[in-house]
């Protein structure tokens, strides 16, 4: 694997994890008695940028290296289901994240002033944020299992 591919793979993992951290911070602060709306906006925007950048870097690694060099090794091994179930699901579910995070950012940007007085809105936004974090964590765990299945 070339240094460029290693850089893209590491960047993909780092950016995806950063997105999870930004949204976890968002989730923890939305229920504060005096939520800092400036940070809600910043965290959701940074999470959006992280997932978009992770999409591009991971996409480069996946389309130029994984299919040719990693996938055949996993499929020949004992845990071929890791590719055919986990990787196939992960690579497509990942595409949800930028759109879900864009919706979260848009609601935060345009309606943050209503969060304090409209509890239904705040709860639904928290539900959306929790869903994004859960899906992103599932994708991250799948990535760990996929890495572990190489050469087994």
């Amino acid at each position: 694997m070339t240094n460029t591919l290693i850089f893209f793979l590491v960047a993909h993992i780092f950016l995806g994890t950063s997105g999870i951290i930004f949204l976890t911070a968002y989730l923890l602060s939305i229920f504060k008695k005096e939520a800092d709306f400036k940070w809600l906006k910043i965290n959701s925007f940074l999470a959006l940028l992280s997932f978009i950048a992770s999409w591009i870097t991971g996409g480069y690694y996946y389309t130029s290296y994984y299919g040719k060099s990693v996938k055949p090794v996993i499929l020949k091994g004992e845990f071929s289901w890791v590719h055919s179930i986990l990787m196939e699901t992960k690579e497509h579910v990942f595409l949800f994240l930028p759109f879900l995070t864009l919706a979260l950012f848009a609601v935060t940007y345009f309606a943050y002033s209503d969060f304090a007085k409209d509890k239904k809105l705040a709860l639904s936004v928290a539900g959306l944020c929790f869903t994004i974090v859960s899906i992103a964590l599932a994708i991250m765990l799948s990535g760990i299992v996929i890495s572990g299945a190489v050469g087994k």
Binding site: E91, A111, K120
Partner: protein, 103 residues
Amino acid sequence: MEDKKPILSAIIVSAILTIAAIVFLTIFGELNPVFKAWLTKTFSHHWIGKSIISVLVFLVSSPVFYVLRLKKISIPALIWLLVAVANLSFGILLAFFFVETYF
């Protein structure tokens, strides 16, 4: 928020439509090798094709839903619908690839 409701509704409904489109493209691509081959030939990789088409679906549907002015459904209801569609779509794809692998 009332003045921002049309743009928020448009973005949320477009996100719902885009996720549904990703699920459709994925499952249809697996069941129809000709379609998957077309994606690969046109976009150099089927995953790049799905990525580009999903962005296009979002970019085209957002202005359409904005013009339609979806004011009847509340923003919290639309957000919960988006949450439900995202979770359901995750489950559908996982179940599909499980069935495709073992059955």
